[in-house]
C-alpha cells in the first residue's frame, strides 16, 4: 500500500503543476520580449532547455539509484532507477524534437554535427538500449541487475562522449550561447527559471507516479507467484478458495 503522505504529496504536486503550466505559458508568450535576431521561434528555448536539464537529471538519478540497488539489492531502488531512465528518455526525446524545430529557422539546418546535439542523440540511444535490454531480461531481478550495470556505465560514458565529439569537430562553433544567464534579458531569465522549476516538479511528479506503478507491479508479481505455488503442489493447504 502507498503511504498517505506520498499520495498527499502527489496530489499537491498535481495541483501545483496545474497552476504552474499556465503561468509558464503566460510568461513565455505574453511577458517575455521576442528575441531580436531569432524571432518568435526562440520561445521554444523555454521548453527545450528545461527538458535538457531533466534529461540529465533522469540519467544522473538512474546511475545513483542503480548504484544503491547494487549495494543494497533492494528492488525499491531499482524501481526508481528504471523510472528515472524512462523519464530521461522521454525528456531527451523532447530535446531532440524541439532542437531541430528551433535550429531550422535560426541556423538554416535541421541538424548539424554540433557537439551538444550529437552527444544528446548518443545519450538517448544508450538509454533506449537500457530500456530494450531490461525488456528482454528473463526475470525482474535480472532486469534490475543488468539495468544497474548499463545505467552506471552509461552515466560514466556521457562526459567521455561529449569530449570525444567536441574534439572530433575541432573547435566547435559557438553558434548559440545558451549557458549562463549572461546574455539573457532579466525577464527571459525569469521565464527560464520558472519553466525549469515547473519541469523539475513535473519530473518529480512523474517519477513518483512511475515508481508507484513499479511498486504495484512488483506486488502483483509476488502475489501471482504466491497464488501459483499452491496449485503446483497437490499437498498445499486448502486455502485457495479463501484467497480467491
Amino acid at each position: 500500500m502507498e503511504r498517505p503522505s506520498s499520495t498527499f504529496a502527489q496530489a499537491l504536486l498535481f495541483v501545483l503543476l496545474l497552476a504552474l503550466f499556465p503561468a509558464c505559458l503566460y510568461m513565455v508568450f505574453a511577458v517575455v520580449p521576442t528575441e531580436q535576431k531569432m524571432g518568435v521561434v526562440q520561445r521554444i528555448f523555454y521548453f527545450h532547455v528545461p527538458s535538457a536539464f531533466m534529461a540529465f537529471a533522469g540519467v544522473g538519478a538512474c546511475a545513483v539509484f542503480s548504484a544503491f540497488y547494487l549495494w543494497t539489492r533492494d528492488l525499491r531502488y531499482d524501481v526508481v532507477a528504471h523510472a528515472a531512465a524512462e523519464l530521461g528518455v522521454v525528456f531527451c526525446t523532447i530535446v531532440l524534437v524541439t532542437g531541430p524545430i528551433w535550429a531550422r529557422p535560426v541556423w538554416g539546418v535541421w541538424w548539424t554535427g554540433e557537439v551538444r546535439l550529437t552527444s544528446t542523440l548518443v545519450l538517448w540511444l544508450i538509454y533506449v538500449g537500457y530500456l530494450a535490454l531490461r525488456e528482454n531480461a528473463e526475470n525482474r531481478e535480472q532486469a534490475a541487475r543488468w539495468g544497474a550495470v548499463v545505467g552506471i556505465v552509461g552515466a560514466l560514458d556521457v562526459p567521455i562522449i561529449y569530449k570525444s565529439v567536441e574534439w572530433w569537430r575541432g573547435l566547435h562553433p559557438k553558434v548559440l550561447k545558451m549557458s549562463g544567464g549572461g546574455g539573457l534579458e532579466p525577464s527571459m531569465e525569469k521565464a527560464l527559471l520558472l519553466c525549469s522549476l515547473t519541469f523539475l516538479l513535473l519530473f518529480i511528479y512523474l517519477l513518483m507516479q512511475r515508481c508507484q506503478l513499479g511498486r504495484l507491479q512488483i506486488e502483483i508479481e509476488s502475489l501471482a507467484h504466491a497464488a501459483r505455488r499452491p496449485a503446483a503442489s497437490p499437498a498445499a493447504p486448502p486455502s485457495r478458495g479463501a484467497r480467491a
Binding site: L125, I126, L133, V149, V150, I160, I161, K163, S164, V165
Partner: protein
C-alpha cells in the same frame, strides 16, 4: 591460483578451442574483407584519397566483425551450459571477464593485422607511418571496444534477441572509441607526428582504464546465477 594466471587460462581456453574448431577466424576475416569490398564499390578511390575515408572504412569493418566475435565469445559458453563449469571453478569472476576481454582483443587484433595490410594494397596506399605508433593505437582502441563489449555481451547473449541487442547497446557506448580510432588511425596512416594525436591516445587510454575498472567491479552482478 594467481589472478593473472586465471586471466591467462580463460583466454587460453578460448584461443585453444578456436585453434581446434576454427569456427570464427575465417568468418571474422571474410566479413571484414567483405566490408572493404562493399566500400570499394561505394566510393570511387581513384578520386578520393584513401587517408580521408580509409580509417573510417577500416574501423567499420573492425567494429562489425568485433560484434560478431563478442557474441560468439559468450555463445560458446551458453552451449551445453559450459558457463556453469566456469562459474563453479575456483577463479574470480573478474578474472573470467578479463580473460574474455583478452581473448576477444586477440581475435580482433588478428583480423586487424591481416585486414590493414590488405586494405593498403587494395586501395593502393603508400604507407609511410611508424609501425610502433600504429600498434599502440590499434591495441588501445581494440581493448577499449572489447572491454565494454564483453561486459554487454555477457548480458545480451543470454536473451533471445542477443544479436540485435548487443549492437544497440554497444555502438552508442563505444562512440568515443569509434571517433578516437578513426582520428588516430588517419594520423598514423599519414605518418604525422605523435603530438598531433597524443590527446586522442590519452582519451582512449582513459576510456580503457575507466571501463575496465568499472566492468571488473560490475561483472559480478552480471553473472549472478
Amino acid at each position: 591460483m594467481s589472478f593473472l594466471r586465471a586471466v591467462a587460462l580463460v583466454a587460453r581456453k578460448d584461443l585453444l578451442s578456436e585453434l581446434r574448431s576454427r569456427e570464427q577466424a575465417v568468418t571474422l576475416f571474410f566479413f571484414a574483407l567483405l566490408v572493404l569490398v562493399v566500400f570499394n564499390f561505394a566510393f570511387d578511390f581513384t578520386v578520393i584519397e584513401f587517408v580521408s575515408l580509409g580509417p573510417g572504412i577500416l574501423w567499420v569493418a573492425f567494429i562489425f566483425s568485433g560484434v560478431l566475435a563478442l557474441s560468439h565469445s559468450f555463445q560458446i559458453e551458453r552451449e551445453k551450459d559450459r558457463i556453469l563449469g566456469i562459474l563453479m571453478s575456483p577463479i574470480d569472476r573478474s578474472a573470467f571477464y578479463l580473460g574474455k576481454v583478452l581473448a576477444t582483443s586477440l581475435f580482433m587484433a588478428a583480423v586487424e593485422a591481416v585486414i590493414v595490410p590488405v586494405s593498403v594494397l587494395m586501395f593502393n596506399y603508400r604507407f609511410s607511418g611508424r609501425i610502433g605508433a600504429a600498434i599502440l593505437v590499434f591495441v588501445l582502441n581494440t581493448v577499449g571496444f572489447a572491454a565494454v563489449g564483453t561486459l554487454f555481451s555477457a548480458m545480451t547473449t543470454r536473451t533471445r534477441r542477443g544479436e540485435l541487442l548487443l549492437p544497440l547497446l554497444l555502438f552508442p557506448a563505444a562512440v568515443p572509441i569509434a571517433l578516437a580510432a578513426v582520428k588516430t588511425t588517419s594520423h598514423v596512416l599519414a605518418g604525422r607526428p605523435f603530438r598531433l594525436y597524443a590527446s586522442w591516445v590519452a582519451l582512449t587510454s582513459a576510456y580503457d582504464v575507466i571501463f575496465l575498472a568499472a566492468a571488473v567491479l560490475l561483472f559480478d552482478s552480471v553473472l549472478e546465477e
